[in-house]
Symmetry: C2
Subunit: 259 residues, 2 copies
Amino acid sequence: MRFEPAATRLTPRLPNPGPLRCGPGVATGMRWLIEDTLQRLRDSGLPLHRRLVHAGDTVYRCGEAFRELHVLHSGFFKVVTVTADGREQVVGLHFKGDWLGFDGIAAGHYTCDAVALDVGEVWSLDYEALLALSVSEPGLTGMLHAAMSRQMARERESILSLCTLSADARVADFLRQWVEALDKRGLRTDRITLCLSRAEIGNFLGMTLESVSRALSRLAREGVIDFAEKGRRHVRIPDPGAINAYIERSLAQASAALQ
Amino acid sequence: MRFEPAATRLTPRLPNPGPLRCGPGVATGMRWLIEDTLQRLRDSGLPLHRRLVHAGDTVYRCGEAFRELHVLHSGFFKVVTVTADGREQVVGLHFKGDWLGFDGIAAGHYTCDAVALDVGEVWSLDYEALLALSVSEPGLTGMLHAAMSRQMARERESILSLCTLSADARVADFLRQWVEALDKRGLRTDRITLCLSRAEIGNFLGMTLESVSRALSRLAREGVIDFAEKGRRHVRIPDPGAINAYIERSLAQASAALQ
DNA sequence: CGGGCCGTTGACCACATTCAACGCGTGTGG
DNA sequence: CCACACGCGTTGAATGTGGTCAACGGCCCG
């Protein structure tokens, strides 16, 4: 049995016309979509600037003139903003098939740093050339817009997680996102390697590194995850469903508090 | 004198090549950009479906088939997601000149509700028609992409605020954003009307309505804001700079705690 | 060996949430 | 007309989650 959430309904008097509600849909065809994106870029005839990166390398830096968009062929990447007062914030994590650099379009220069977290390959392509080719190749535009739309959806998911989940649930949700991303790309999800430090995870989730560590320990104690013998960045996920169950449980506990 | 933030540096060993750091740039020409957007849409010859809305009216609803993008001509709007488990989250606030509906591009249907907070006017235009016209009118594509890019920047700013600021500072930052948005649109910023309830503000900022109320009271006590005689949604802002000062002060206090 | 860096854990504390009571304006029905 | 309920906002007191500070262990590298 599920109770009303504690917060007052925000749009109470709006008559809800039918069951249009929906959650974030998990596209099972995502894997093909990503391969298709990469294939179409190869086939497009656009000059692709391929680049190998190592952990710590930047794809682009805040302030650099915007000319190129970047499509990730492999690896793991973080996008970081640095404010004028020195706050540093991880605002996104990115994987194979994702596009980077959209933040530069409006400003004319990049407004974030994009940093590789592991070895990987980046395909960079000239934005103007892409636009020019899009005129004769309308599918490219659709692909680009869909990528931007998906990115916005992910950022909204981050906001949702930050606003509605407890620290523990946020860490669990972070793992869920990571596993889901791997799954969509056809990578194994039973043994994963977080290529982020506890401090980076905490920064991304709006909490301290100690809280991340404690949350992971609790998750391990409850059997949701399992630390492999060597290294505390390697995590076994016996059952991906258990992560969702954990998140839902912590939500249910919150509402159970009101009897 | 400014101290290192409490959190460990996330990219410590990366040699920082020069002073490329930058904050979110405040475009002073924003007002013209917005008018220009609306003008170009009028001139484009695209069939614009103009619609008047009242507080509570939806521009679109989650689940509806995506066909149109919407440009706001006047008014105030919120974008809300509802999760499968019933959590409701305000993920964005929007003003004149903003575009709505990008979330529908990737999924083929909208994944959020867009709701008017006050009377306003929305211009809706067919997405496919826009794409078709963009082929002969390349400026339209640039305009569209810039709008999407700007929206992503704003979402990242929300994440930044949620992750790095205390509850009080978050409320102050919310006011700052609101005032900045009005300023960019040439509206008066010394007397503003929040057309959101405390519950909605709290939801958007990841805190409870009580905390919002307390934060606003504290801001008033410190003279940063001033409640007009009638109604607690009407706020006087004697000096917009004081809001920034308040946010910086609360950041400085946090780092001053470490001696 | 010593010194970083990373991760974990414990003790303490503060900030934000929870719960409750109250004031105010508004709309509604006796 | 007043009584009443209801939504919205404010404020106080108690509680608890997550932050702060500190100590410790493992690992890698000079």
